[in-house]
Symmetry: C5
Subunit: 354 residues, 5 copies
Amino acid sequence: MRQPTPRRSSKAGLPPGTPVHIGRRQSEQAKITILDYDEAGVREQALESLDQCVSLRGVPGVTWVSVVGLHDIELLERLGECFRLHPLVLEDIANTDQRPKLEDYDGYLFIVAKALDGNARDAQVDAEQVCLVLGPNFVISFEELESDLFGSVRERIRAGRGHIRNAGADYLAYSLLDALVDRYFVTLEVLGEKIENFEEELVTNPTVGTLRIVHRLKSEMIVLRKSVWPLREVIAGLSRAESSLINQATVIYLRDVYDHTIEVIDTMETYREMVSGMLDIYLSSISNRMNEIMKVLTIIATIFIPLTFITGIFGMNFARMPGLRWEWGYFATLGAMFLVGVGMLLYFRKRKWL
Amino acid sequence: MRQPTPRRSSKAGLPPGTPVHIGRRQSEQAKITILDYDEAGVREQALESLDQCVSLRGVPGVTWVSVVGLHDIELLERLGECFRLHPLVLEDIANTDQRPKLEDYDGYLFIVAKALDGNARDAQVDAEQVCLVLGPNFVISFEELESDLFGSVRERIRAGRGHIRNAGADYLAYSLLDALVDRYFVTLEVLGEKIENFEEELVTNPTVGTLRIVHRLKSEMIVLRKSVWPLREVIAGLSRAESSLINQATVIYLRDVYDHTIEVIDTMETYREMVSGMLDIYLSSISNRMNEIMKVLTIIATIFIPLTFITGIFGMNFARMPGLRWEWGYFATLGAMFLVGVGMLLYFRKRKWL
Amino acid sequence: MRQPTPRRSSKAGLPPGTPVHIGRRQSEQAKITILDYDEAGVREQALESLDQCVSLRGVPGVTWVSVVGLHDIELLERLGECFRLHPLVLEDIANTDQRPKLEDYDGYLFIVAKALDGNARDAQVDAEQVCLVLGPNFVISFEELESDLFGSVRERIRAGRGHIRNAGADYLAYSLLDALVDRYFVTLEVLGEKIENFEEELVTNPTVGTLRIVHRLKSEMIVLRKSVWPLREVIAGLSRAESSLINQATVIYLRDVYDHTIEVIDTMETYREMVSGMLDIYLSSISNRMNEIMKVLTIIATIFIPLTFITGIFGMNFARMPGLRWEWGYFATLGAMFLVGVGMLLYFRKRKWL
Amino acid sequence: MRQPTPRRSSKAGLPPGTPVHIGRRQSEQAKITILDYDEAGVREQALESLDQCVSLRGVPGVTWVSVVGLHDIELLERLGECFRLHPLVLEDIANTDQRPKLEDYDGYLFIVAKALDGNARDAQVDAEQVCLVLGPNFVISFEELESDLFGSVRERIRAGRGHIRNAGADYLAYSLLDALVDRYFVTLEVLGEKIENFEEELVTNPTVGTLRIVHRLKSEMIVLRKSVWPLREVIAGLSRAESSLINQATVIYLRDVYDHTIEVIDTMETYREMVSGMLDIYLSSISNRMNEIMKVLTIIATIFIPLTFITGIFGMNFARMPGLRWEWGYFATLGAMFLVGVGMLLYFRKRKWL
Amino acid sequence: MRQPTPRRSSKAGLPPGTPVHIGRRQSEQAKITILDYDEAGVREQALESLDQCVSLRGVPGVTWVSVVGLHDIELLERLGECFRLHPLVLEDIANTDQRPKLEDYDGYLFIVAKALDGNARDAQVDAEQVCLVLGPNFVISFEELESDLFGSVRERIRAGRGHIRNAGADYLAYSLLDALVDRYFVTLEVLGEKIENFEEELVTNPTVGTLRIVHRLKSEMIVLRKSVWPLREVIAGLSRAESSLINQATVIYLRDVYDHTIEVIDTMETYREMVSGMLDIYLSSISNRMNEIMKVLTIIATIFIPLTFITGIFGMNFARMPGLRWEWGYFATLGAMFLVGVGMLLYFRKRKWL
């Protein structure tokens, strides 16, 4: 149900800047794809190893280096040398247990974000780490597992749709972040449907498992919140454009993604309130039902206890009990008991206990 | 009861700045009304199509272009070209799932706000998106459905009441926002009445459905809050008058609308506290009533159980039971049982259990 | 119990700056009293109408124009013209549903505050709106109903006590605010007494009505809080002395009133926590008492049920039941039942259930 | 249990700056002690009246004027004249219902603080007001009642321990505040012990009075909090050293007292959380115990009700009831009832209800 | 369970700057280890006494003086003289009840932090105080008890791993803080496992002791929070690099530790929410179980009470009771009772009470 804390403790005692892969999933082999593009055209190439460092840099236009798979520490280090990344950056990339953040290094920006996998409907909300390095004319993206997260951006570059081919590396970084944030809406919709269906179920058939589902929804929202709130700061930091790597023209677009994250947060907070309210409804309807049962049962018992007392009276063995010998005594007693029972029922109904 | 999240996910993967209509309601055809006015007079005209772009601009005085219906993407785009609106602005106008916000573009201000429909008494509080574009001498307003929201402003322009005809486009934008905020008070009054009536009902006749009504009131307040809190920031931003589009003279008026939104927020928060308090009263009175029932019923049972025990004693079949043969034994036993019953009643009353 | 929202909706659609009286109480006729004073002496005069505008201004010394009754819109407008007040100021004066605020207009300060009527002990805490206009050498005060709120200040001016006659209009405004804030302490003391008495009652005799009283206390505090918190900002704004209308010498006094409002807020918050704590005590003692009852009753029933079972055994009609014919069987059975009963009582006592 | 609001209302209507003694305790006579000291030596003198104003000032070195007893308004006023204190300062000194604060007057600083009396173990936490006036070469301290609060400082001056005799008046003021804050730790320790003992009692023997003790602890913490939080701001204000009366060398010491107040606040907040947690434990253990009782009692009743039903069957008077005449019928029935009882017990145990 | 407040009160009355050891544990003798290192090599030496002050300073390269054991006040004072530490610094070192803080003294920085001992799995989370003094070319570390907290750093210096030997004293201080923060992750993992295991237990077997464990977890988090939150400010203060003692190159590393503390805080807050949620689940499942029991028992009683009433009827001793003499009366009655019982069971099942 819950993501266990990855074994951060395995790093205690190592010198800072030592990249250690802390993650849950390992693709079979790290894969590097390079996409060079400018207004004129697009060049794609997939690398297996990293001997050709020269091939990565010095190309005119914008270069997007996409790395999938983080367990190959050596490859990361060679890439780091090639792009002159700080050892701490490499350490953060390999450790997939980072918080979304934006760091301004000399010559490049380092961005950590969380991508949500909102496709699987039954599955849990799960956050995967995505790192971006934005340089003057290149963007490097790091993912742990192959996914179609950035597929639409790649498609747009290939097809030359929108003005992505005319814009710089900062616009590419924006596009990647935008694709990432768009995924949040998908996850939110799935979550919203779950909540709606569950609300229906809560009213028609509250069972013991309900509380656990409510808490599972709550945990999913904690995952969401831990991903989105710091992302908001990251994008706010980018759109303040304090770095020379961000063009003024891109700021308008970054403000737009910023608005989207605010909307995600808003919807999330609304869902949180709804789930809290559902907990109240659940507890109240469970206790209402129990009270309902107890009430009816107690009323039945209460009616028959005085009646049983009456039968007890006429079951006593006194030698002289007037009425016992009376021919209609039995029927009169039955009638009296019937009247007592009906009277109590009427009284209960009058006091609205029934 | 709740507004489902509009299908934002349908936009994932599209290039930014692609307007897609995300909304619930579609008027049959988009309608454009143009109102030119200055001190001297008023010219009105209704357009079906947008070939006459020239007719929209270049007129002396203030021009109010009112667009009703947002599903006609093509028309929006032509309008955008005509007034040189940024593609992201068009995208935000078409997507009626925006958060109220103020954006300062080069040459115009873009305002998103939520209008409340407070007319229907039984209906839910529902927020409709209204967008304003404030240029140097024009205001464009975008609504999804025809409504009488801005009717009074239009009336005032036609009649020349107040000094709206002498003032600039910023005063017109202020007037529209003022009309919009005035609606909030209507909605709040309706909500206030609902709460008051409901409070009465809560005390006289708390039923099972009550909790759901409390939660519906809570959801309506969430809608309200999501509309008003950001609107406050929007108007605060306008009244700081950092844009050259806002005259100093209009700032006093904007501060006034700002005060109104603060009052709306204040009243809303008071209502929230009242609704929370009502939940406490409800839960407490429900449990009080149940306890009341259980107590009385248990007391009845408790009185008759010892009495039944006594009848049991004299129903035993021992050969030698002194008293059974005594002539007044039966009556003495009945009397004793009567005394025991009355004694217990008195004891219960003394301990204030009755 | 609760103040209904005044009909703000009646204003929707009117041009801004149209004063409409929104209030609960109307004195029979608006009354204007003018008090001119300087070190040398005091001149008082009561006006019925406002033809003599000249008589209001241009007098040396400080002029205090006191207006009681706000329903005479025409009079307000003439006064506004006379002192060159902005239409929005007049609108705010007539609408008694304002939030305390401070506004800096050209040439005068406009202050809205709430006065509490703390005299009536049984009555609700009720806030009445008081507006002040502070000009270079005049103060205009607006009240809805005649009250003795400013009586002590008037007395001090007439008698020349303190140095009010040597000071300027800002000191007069300070004195009025000080008198207004002093009233809050009276209200708080009344409220404090109510809470103390109620706490006593809560422990000795918790009844069903208690919860409603707790909620009434809570609502009174909401009224208080809505009046005091913004007042704090108003006085903080005044004591920052950004306006040239406030002398540096008066700032020390304003800081003193500021401290008083902070104390009012402090005491209020303490009361709020006490009332919340009382709710806990109430709920807990109610449920304790109910549990106490249920426990004793259940114990009685539990003792007699096994005893009744024993009588049932000997009430069976088997042909051969040894003991039934034994001469002491009856007494032995009675004794055994007595022992069982006492044994259960002792067991219950040992387990501390009694 | 609770400190009633002192009668602030008695001041309503008086001109500002009129000192009125608002306090709970009156020492028999106000007492003034004067301590002059410099590196060379110490001169002490106790005054009964205040005719010798000259004797108070103009002495080289540092002068500490200690005033105990605030009800002698005349004496306060003469002292005020002598040291040129503002009337509002005198008013605040006489009114012991002030909030801790720091005020920067021309030529002196005015400090209000709350001293805690943490000696009496059983008694309530109680806050007494202490005022300090810090001038260029003098400190005046005002207390309501004689106490040993500043005894250690006086001792240190007399004995010349530490470097207090070499330092200025600001270091004396710091020493007094330090002694005052040190008292808070004593009070916190007493409170901590109370909470610890109480926690023990809560687990072993939760009674009805427990909730009231929890709330008493809560009220004591409210008193503490109202004293400490503003004191923090006071000392932070002093250590910013914006006044020329504070030497840079003293700032390090003031920062140290500041850290102490932060620690007091920290410990206090921890205690608050612990007390809240205790409330949860209490409520839960009370309800656990009650449920425990109800469960066992209900089980007893449930076992005997079916058994009594069986005895009822054989107590019926039908002419033809096979088994009644059977010789072993009685014993067989008893045996069957025994088996039913044991079976139910086993069933309850299996379902873990016992 | 809880750490009692160390006896701060023993210090009340002492002059400021008097070091008094306030701590829980005393190592047998204070131990001083000195580590001099530069790029070229490492010199280690262990001191018993402090006569050789000269040996501590004036060495080229970086000097790390590590002090273990704080009860030897005299030694602390001699060390203080040697490094010209302020008396207040010595006082804070000896008092192990400090809050994490950063103080900028003339010529050195003083850092107080809390180290967590996360090794013992069953034991409580416990915070031990660690002080650092960072000078231009030396770092002094103070611990109360010998531990392996800084073992890895020492190892790294000896082995020359990483670039610690090339960096200055600020990098050493960073390394020590980094080692300290890394420990927090270990503690968090232990805590996370406890919570996970406990959650499992909570669902399968909620017992009475559970609530106490939940509260123990809560207290451990309070200890954690009191250690981490202020540490965050300490490291934020260091990484702002306002002191000339911090090199710009070290700032990147400090920002990294800062990120780690933020992650610790994040995880901690998530755990807090999970523990709160567990409390809800616990209370709800306890009450569910109790209700389950009460329901079944009440149903049993309810079925037999009407049946017993029927047996009572035929146990009455009326002379004329038709049916008693009927040959099949007995069996007919038994059958009727059977039908009534089954009917009630079916009714209960239909209403989903079973």
